[in-house]
């Protein structure tokens, strides 16, 4: 069936049966199951899932229970991408010998800790080797499974337990890594940034990814109610504000051509995103006013840059 609306998507998921089922122990308000169900339902083939250590692995497989209704493998924290490489290689070997007959998709899920930081070498190697798999980073901007320690994805100005705000600290002093550009630097056919509030955009991107041969990468923002510190009912609102403020633009890079998928008409000031979250509370004290100004300036510059990249890749034949 063609999926044009969220209702179509719900119908598709109902018809195909869930690969990730109820009973897991995710925090109320967590966006991970929305991401999983959307991504997994975009696969027209059976799916093997590989998982890095992290929130998702911990809450979905507390033995003797499992929320996975599709084959699933976890080895360690570091190696979601290399383990997915191993599964994909085994698949090619066994398919060639006729031992495995079905066509399958292989997808790896890792948090930002397992992807931006400790797993980035394994990810880089897997992308360079060209394994045919999709890697999905569910990015909640810190080591949330273990109580909010700083990661390479933690945004400038956020307070975390290992880089807390204090009398002489604004929290994180550094800008986050631009992981999507790092991944794009591997010249893989499809890289995209998505956000959990925009399920249809995520579904389209996952569909494109699964329909593309070779390594594919999705970076999906996933607000963390527990450690960003906001009420459970605000997950989607905060997720939406991340894109409406250009804090988290939605874009995709298809064979080096960049497209910005959402261009907010009236870009909202970053304060609207920040003020709902406990991790940025300290930025609203008078002495930290300049921090928000610096952040806004950087967000504006980054988005302008993204629009320029869209223009030159679409109109001038430049490739990322």
């Amino acid at each position: 069936m063609e999926v044009k609306t969220i209702r179509d998507l719900a119908q598709l998921q109902t018809d195909m049966g869930l690969k990730f089922v109820a009973g897991h122990r995710m925090c109320a308000g967590c966006g991970i199951s929305s991401i999983l169900r959307t991504v997994l339902s975009a696969s027209k083939k059976p799916v093997v899932v590989v998982n890095a250590t992290g929130c998702l692995e911990v809450v979905s497989t507390i033995y003797p229970f499992t929320a996975w209704n599709t084959p699933w493998l976890h080895v360690t924290f570091v190696n979601a991408a290399s383990s997915a490489s191993g599964v994909e290689t085994a698949y090619r070997a066994l398919k060639k010998k006729g031992i495995v007959k079905e066509d399958v998709n292989i997808v790896a899920f890792g948090g930002d800790g397992g992807t931006y930081d400790i797993g980035i070498q394994a990810l880089s190697g897997a992308l360079e080797r060209g394994h045919n798999f999709l890697y999905v980073c569910y990015d909640n901007e810190g080591y949330m499974n273990t109580g909010h320690q700083r990661s390479g994805a933690t945004p400038f100005g956020a307070s975390s337990t290992t880089q807390p705000a204090g009398k002489i600290s604004i929290g994180k002093k550094e800008w986050r890594k631009d992981l999507v550009k790092i991944v794009a630097g591997h010249n893989i056919p499809y890289v995209a940034q998505a956000n959990v509030y925009n399920i249809m955009d995520l579904f389209k991107k996952a569909t494109k990814a699964f329909d593309t041969e070779g390594p594919k990468f999705l970076n999906v923002l996933m607000p963390c109610t527990t450690n960003w510190v906001f009420p459970e009912n605000l997950t989607m609102k905060i997720s939406r504000l991340a894109t409406e403020t250009n804090f988290w633009p939605l874009f995709e890079i298809e064979r080096g051509v960049l497209t910005v998928n959402v261009k907010p008409k009236d870009r909202k000031p970053i304060e609207e995103f920040l003020k709902l979250q406990g991790r940025f509370k300290h930025l609203f004290s008078p002495e930290n006013k300049h921090v928000i100004e610096v952040m806004q300036k950087k967000i504006n510059e980054d988005f302008e840059n993204l629009l320029k990249l869209e223009k030159v890749t679409h109109e001038e034949g430049v490739r990322i």
Partner: protein
């Protein structure tokens, strides 16, 4: 030797070439290995086999040993026969994943060209790499020469994949000394050797969508202990199955595959216990001293994990003094092989004097006269609690 198979050829090969031959004959589905001296020729030769179409293995060239072991672990979980090879720092980089491979009960097999650990950086032979990982649930087999390394690879694959075992294995061969030294190696017929191991028959597969399985879940205080206990039971089973698999291999090679080799041990008054290539040198010394009428002997452990305590105790119980030669330290404790041998002897009613020697670290040569000195020392009854060094400048 009672030679049965006529389908073999004798060819001059390095240990690395012999191991690569074994891997070719085993026909793994997936090989992933990162080059590291002195293991590098194994992965190079095997890659050439694949490039020339001599094997239909999918060869992956990962960016690190951490990814190499992750790839073969995951491939094994997916149902493939998966192999790797490494040494020293490479094995050390794999350490994070090694207990996951064994904990997930995946029969991965790796050849290890034993090499010293940094620092100081050193590329030559000792056993500090495999000794450092001896408690991580991998079967460990040490090889005296290229022939043994070749045959141990088949033993390891069949033992690891046995349904009562399902544990990964490492086959050690002394870096450079065996990996690069050329010997005449008897290579058996391709079909016979492949049929010996057969194809892997995994009980579970990641590609069974009718029966989807969750591999590697979280086990907390309520289940983890039982799972690890099962792993310990599997190690006990491995001790038994090792001999069964060895008997099957005997039908092809005509050789025996005991836990350890006894060389003039049964009537020996004093014995040296030493593994790998140095055991070969020790045999020469035993021959010379026997000609002089001295009752000396050798016990050469082959299977190091699981460790055959009872059998070693029985084999050594008649001796009057034992010297254990370790090619690794256990810093702050007794040397690893010495510790296990001493443990094995604890149940004897008598207390046999046992002397610990450390030798050959970082590839330091050991000579026949030094091994002879050890026998002389043992015969003279000069046994101390001190950990002695052979060939060290004090």
């Amino acid at each position: 030797m009672n030679k049965i198979s006529i389908k073999s050829k004798r060819v001059p090969l390095t240990g690395a070439e012999a191991v690569a031959e074994a891997m070719r004959q085993v026909r793994p589905d997936v090989v992933a290995a990162y080059p590291i001296t002195p293991q590098t020729p194994i992965v190079e030769i095997f890659s050439k086999f694949a490039a020339d179409g001599l094997v239909d293995t999918e060869v992956v060239t990962p960016e690190s040993e951490h990814s190499a072991i992750s790839i073969v672990t995951a491939a094994s979980a997916a149902g493939a026969r998966a192999m790797s090879a490494s040494a020293s720092q490479g094995l050390a980089l794999m350490v994070e994943v090694l207990p996951a491979t064994s904990g997930l009960r995946l029969p991965v097999v790796m050849a290890i060209a034993n090499r010293a650990l940094s620092a100081p950086i050193n590329i030559h032979c000792d056993h500090s790499d495999m000794m450092a990982v001896r408690d991580l649930g991998w079967i460990e087999i040490f090889s005296e020469n290229a022939q043994e390394a070749y045959e141990n690879m088949f033993l390891a694959v069949k033992l690891s994949e046995h349904p009562d075992v399902l544990l990964p294995s490492m086959v050690g061969l002394d870096g450079f000394i065996i990996s690069h030294g050329v010997e005449v190696v008897e290579i058996y017929d391709d079909e016979i050797m492949y049929n010996f191991v057969g194809s892997r028959k995994p009980q579970l597969s990641l590609f069974d969508f009718e029966n989807p399985i969750t591999i590697g879940p979280l086990q907390l205080t309520d289940y983890y202990f039982e799972t690890k206990r099962q792993e310990q039971e599997a190690m006990k089973n491995a001790l038994k199955i090792y001999l069964e698999v060895g008997k099957e291999l005997s039908k092809i090679t005509g050789k025996d595959y005991p836990y350890f080799e006894k060389y003039y041990l049964d009537d020996a008054e004093v014995a040296i216990v030493v593994m790998s290539s140095t055991a070969g040198t020790t045999k020469d010394v035993v021959d010379e001293l026997r000609k002089e009428g001295k009752k000396v002997g050798l016990l050469k452990p082959k299977l190091f994990r699981p460790f055959p305590y009872d059998e070693i105790k029985e084999a050594l119980k008649h001796t009057k003094a034992i010297g254990v030669l370790d090619r690794a330290y256990s810093f702050g404790a007794n040397a690893p092989l010495y510790t296990d041998i001493r443990n094995a002897l604890y149940d004897l009613p008598q207390r046999i004097p046992i002397q610990s020697y450390v030798f050959g670290l970082g590839g330091r040569d050991i000579f026949k006269h030094q091994i002879k000195d050890v026998f002389v020392e043992l015969l003279s009854g000069k046994i101390s609690k001190e950990e002695k060094c052979i060939g060290l400048r004090e």
